[in-house]
Symmetry: C2
Subunit: 260 residues, 2 copies
DNA sequence: ATATATTTTCCGGAATATTCGGATAGGGTG
DNA sequence: CACCCTATCCGAATATTCCGGAAAATATAT
């Protein structure tokens, strides 16, 4: 539990409380104390303090995560230049194609959905902004793997385990290494049924100044993605979109929009 | 600084560090230590621990908030029943009217934008999900004030100060009390130029089981909102939408969607 | 209604985790 | 190469956390 004797256990525990609160969806000191194996008087002190900070709410004896988290995340996203430049483009493509358009970045060796725009009829199979997924399980992640520095990509492939999400998920490191090269040559990646059955994805890297900033992808039902001409059409659309994003990112407006 | 001697200062400080990190957008121990008036060795301990938790990243000596916040907020939102039921309705209205549709909830005496859907051409004047604003400065907030229990509303009006956002912002408590009553009678609120010049808003309460869950609103340029027949049209659309939301909220599907 | 069980909140003192000055190492700049 | 600034490391003092147990509050059972 206390690995490094120099790290502040009080802080580590406080965040563990947040994690547990997220799972329990509202609980009292006793239950939380049980879950974390602490005296409930201690848990009480933690909850009281977390409540003071505003990140935890207390309603009739039940403590839960406070919507203040939304404010922190929202502000951060609002100030993110990649998000700001990508968003209008993603909207355009989503409305144009009526599919689901996603923007994924790498964080901590995993894929994190930074933003998503859905066309009016687009189907969404349970992915949402903020969700983290293993990189090797979908086209966006594989694009990221392909354009990550070799050593980082290799570390991810080597240190596994590489989760098997569906029966089509590629989990063999050598197969994934081969795919990295193919993606680097072609400049995009496609998958279907590898993360979720019925879901296909086309993804291209967002490279700015030679540096990988993320991947833009379109999600469509497997059937449609298998159709080569449609796949080609979608691919062109997101490639164009990425071009505009990278131009606007570099030469575009002020950067940070105003605050309300 | 240390108000209540029984609250855990380590936790309070840790969250203050997060706040400061949010403002600085990347900084080293020394700068952060200066800002919080602490020895930099102490700040180092905090940063090191926050980094361990995963909520802070360290890249070449610069510490910053980690995208992990997105994951926490995203999961929370994804599990929020009000959001889940409102979202498809908001999309429909946004595409139908081509304006900006918002869902605001009350938190800590202020208005918090839980979600926003923009029509393809909708203009967005700097509001974003997660943003918090004083309730008395826009239609959504006033609807919430009107349907909040009297004592809570009164506390907000009494304890001021009521910020003046534009020259049209209503800051007189008595005027706001009168408006509460009018809103309760009519069942909706309208404002223009009260929060942002050029921005008009129509808002209706989301009442489920007699309890206020939030407010749904449409934002449009002041000029369009001043047009009575258009205003009426928009109002009807969000009222219908709220009806569907409240029905689906009560009798709708499973509740929590699947995780990816 | 009354009794009983359970949970939340409060409190004081012991134990120990945090804190801070100072030492060291690392980076950048003229 | 010397200087300055910053990040990191360390050990000892002490202010904080932590826990057991009491009191209040709440829920459940009789």
């Amino acid at each position: 539990m206390s690995d490094d004797p120099r790290s502040l256990t009080t802080i580590r525990r406080a965040f563990e409380v947040l994690d547990v609160l997220q799972e329990t969806n509202g609980a009292g000191p006793t239950e939380l104390a049980r879950r974390m194996d602490l005296p409930s008087s201690t848990m009480y002190d933690y909850l009281r303090t977390l409540h003071e900070t505003g990140y935890v709410t207390r309603e009739d004896g039940e403590y839960r995560l406070s919507p203040r988290i939304y404010t922190m995340a929202g502000r951060m996203k609002h100030r993110d230049r990649l998000f700001q430049t990508a968003k209008p483009e993603m909207k355009r493509v989503a409305n144009d194609t009526d599919e689901l358009v996603g923007l994924t970045i790498e964080h901590d060796g995993k894929g994190l959905i930074l933003h998503q725009e859905e066309g009016p009829q687009a189907l969404n199979l349970g992915t949402y902004p903020g969700a983290m997924t293993p990189l090797h399980t979908h086209a966006s992640g594989k694009v990221i793997l392909a354009y990550l520095p070799d050593d980082e990509a290799e570390a991810i492939l080597r240190d596994g385990p590489l989760a098997q999400r569906t029966e089509r998920t590629v989990t063999d490191p050598d197969a994934l290494r081969a795919e990295r090269e193919r993606i680097q040559e072609r400049g995009y990646a496609v998958d279907w049924d590898e993360q979720v059955i019925g879901m296909g994805m086309i993804a291209v890297p967002i490279l700015i100044d030679e540096r990988l900033h993320g991947a833009l992808n379109i999600v469509a039902p497997t059937g449609r993605v298998q159709n080569e001409s449609y796949q080609e059409e979608l691919r062109q659309k997101i490639e164009e979109s990425v071009n505009r994003i990278s131009i606007n990112y570099q030469y575009g407006g002020s950067g940070t929009p105003r605050e309300p």
